[in-house]
């Protein structure tokens, strides 16, 4: 569960990226987060990860109170979620299999568990036969799917995808959306950050719009709004 209450975020240089955010997302929801470039979408994601600390308000994520979390606890918060950033990078010296396994190794999983789970999630994203390929031999869409396998493998309850359809063509877009919906069906909360209006029209889901750091609309489906749109 994610609960923002009057949350603001100001960067050290004074830029106010988020202002007075109130937002509640239940476990298992599927939410689009939309907004123009610079609106504050990535900033909101970084708050969830506790990469940035909120400047005001209170924020609860998967049972952790982020306004007062100890830095020692942050790694454990991060294990409950996984973010695929818009500029995600696979490790080009590791095979697809190793890329996925690496995510488990860094939190100290046993080799036996790794051997069981990695093939399972490569299968979920449909890349079983690419396990031994290196990332630069994969298409953009396939790379994206590896990134999702890597995000899923530690069994997080929340997946955040920042512009998952940003740099791939239209056919692949549906594949990725398909994958995200399947992940959602597994019972995981999915937040998709995008400014792809086509996508929003095609998949009618709860859509939260941010503009200049403020939530300007939160409703089912998407209608482009001029001059702000109404608050829900």
């Amino acid at each position: 569960m994610i609960h923002f209450k009057n949350v603001s975020l100001a960067y050290p240089d004074g830029t106010v990226a988020l202002k007075d955010i109130n937002l509640h997302i239940e476990d298992g929801e599927f939410v689009f987060l939309v907004g123009h470039s610079g609106a504050g979408k990535t900033s909101l994601t970084k708050l969830l990860l506790c990469e940035e600390r909120l400047s005001a308000g209170s924020l609860q994520v998967n049972g952790y109170r982020l306004e007062k979390i100890r830095s020692r606890k942050i790694p454990y918060l991060r294990r409950t979620m996984d973010v695929v950033f818009q500029d995600f990078k696979l490790f080009d010296k590791m095979t697809v299999y190793e890329n996925v396994a690496f995510a488990m190794r860094v939190i100290g999983e046993k080799s036996a568990t790794i051997r069981k789970r990695v093939p399972f999630f490569l299968n979920v994203v449909g890349l079983t036969d690419k396990a031994d390929s290196f990332p630069d031999h994969l298409s953009g869409g396939e790379q994206q799917r590896v990134a999702f396998a890597r995000a899923l493998v530690n069994n997080p309850s929340l997946i955040v995808a920042d512009e998952p359809t940003g740099n791939i063509d239209n056919n692949l877009r549906d594949d990725i959306m398909d994958l995200l919906l399947r992940i959602n069906k597994l019972g995981k909360t999915v937040i998709v950050v995008t400014h792809d209006e086509d996508l929003l029209r095609r998949y009618r889901k709860r859509t939260v719009e941010i503009r200049a750091g403020e939530i300007v609309s939160d409703r089912m489906g998407w209608e482009p709004s001029e001059n702000g749109g109404d608050r829900v």
Binding site: L49, P75, F102, V106, I107, G108
Partner: protein, 318 residues
């Protein structure tokens, strides 16, 4: 098993880090190595000076020669005065010992018995004088022992005249002081060089680790977002520093051995022939190995851990 797994992991990552940036790693090892060799060489030189010096006999004896014109009564007066000094100063090991001029002659003839001219001297032709010998403990602080001399010089006979002159007193205190001075100078120079090189090695290792952090920036970022703990992310970098330190220590022990065996012993043997019969003996390297090993490892660990931590604090956000 868990600790063993993470031990192996960290060791592997640390080694990988070293080879990833082999030029900087080599530079780190070289600077650290020269620092250790400086420390080791100065230590070995000082230790050998000390040992050879302590091997020489009678360095801690002060001899007070009695002017030939003195009567037996006056000689006894001097003896009593010296006895007083012994009772006051704790550095003295025992009562003054009277050595007659006959005894001195016997010792003299014994020492030069191979020389033809020694038979020329006998009881009727004895240029030597009676004396008192005062012995201070050989491990005494030399500045304490030096205080004996002015006390002896101040002894007055009952007629009010000073009993002996400074030329009548013979001791090795000056030699002691000179050797102590040399040791002190060597120690100071050695420590300065060590300090400078240690600081340089700290900077070089810091840079090595910094470059490692930059090279692995993406990996580190990913690990953090996956929820890897601070220790998990940082330890491989620290291990990298420690390996550099310990590897340098091992190399330094070897290099120091070669230096000791071939260079220092060569210098000593040429000195021994120049100052004939001075007989400087180098102690075996193995005798110094434990201490040198411990010191080198300590320097290596210190440099590796300190520069690693500083570098991580500065460049690695966890």
């Amino acid at each position: 098993m868990r600790w063993f797994r993470s031990f192996v992991y960290n060791l592997k990552q640390g080694c990988k880090g070293i080879f990833r940036n082999s030029i900087m790693s080599t530079a780190s090892v070289l600077v650290l190595l020269s620092c250790m060799i400086i420390v080791g060489t100065f230590y070995l030189v000082i230790a050998n000076i000390e040992e050879n010096f302590s091997r020489v006999d009678n360095l801690n004896v002060i001899e007070v020669r009695i002017p030939a014109t003195y009567s037996d009564g006056q000689i006894e007066e001097i003896g009593n005065a010296l006895s007083e000094i012994y009772k006051e100063l704790t550095v003295l090991e025992g009562e003054p010992v009277f050595v007659s001029k006959e005894e001195h002659l016997r010792r003299f003839k014994e020492q030069y018995k191979d020389q033809e001219w020694s038979s020329f001297f006998d009881e009727t032709l004895n240029p030597l004088r009676h004396s008192y010998e005062l012995t201070f403990s050989s491990d005494a602080d030399i500045s304490e022992a030096a205080k004996i001399i002015p006390r002896i010089e101040a002894i007055k006979l009952s007629d009010g005249n000073l009993a002996v002159q400074s030329s009548d007193i013979s001791s090795s205190i000056k030699l002691y002081e000179n050797v102590a001075g040399i040791k002190k100078t060597l120690m100071a120079v050695g420590l300065w060089l060590m300090g400078i090189l240690l600081i340089i090695s700290l900077f070089v290792i810091m840079n090595t680790i910094k470059l490692g952090v930059f090279a692995r920036r993406n990996e580190v970022m990913f690990m953090r977002y996956c929820g890897a703990t601070k220790a998990f992310i940082r330890t491989p970098f620290l291990v990298e520093g420690v390996i550099i330190g310990l590897f340098s220590a091992a190399l330094a022990l070897g290099a120091e051995f070669l230096l000791y065996r071939y260079v220092l012993s060569g210098v000593v043997s040429s000195m021994t022939t120049a100052v004939s019969g001075s007989g400087i003996i180098l102690s075996p390297y193995a005798e110094h190995l434990p201490l040198l090993g411990a010191v080198f490892c300590a320097i290596g660990l210190f440099a590796g851990l300190i520069s690693g931590s500083i570098s991580l604090k500065k460049y690695l956000k966890v």
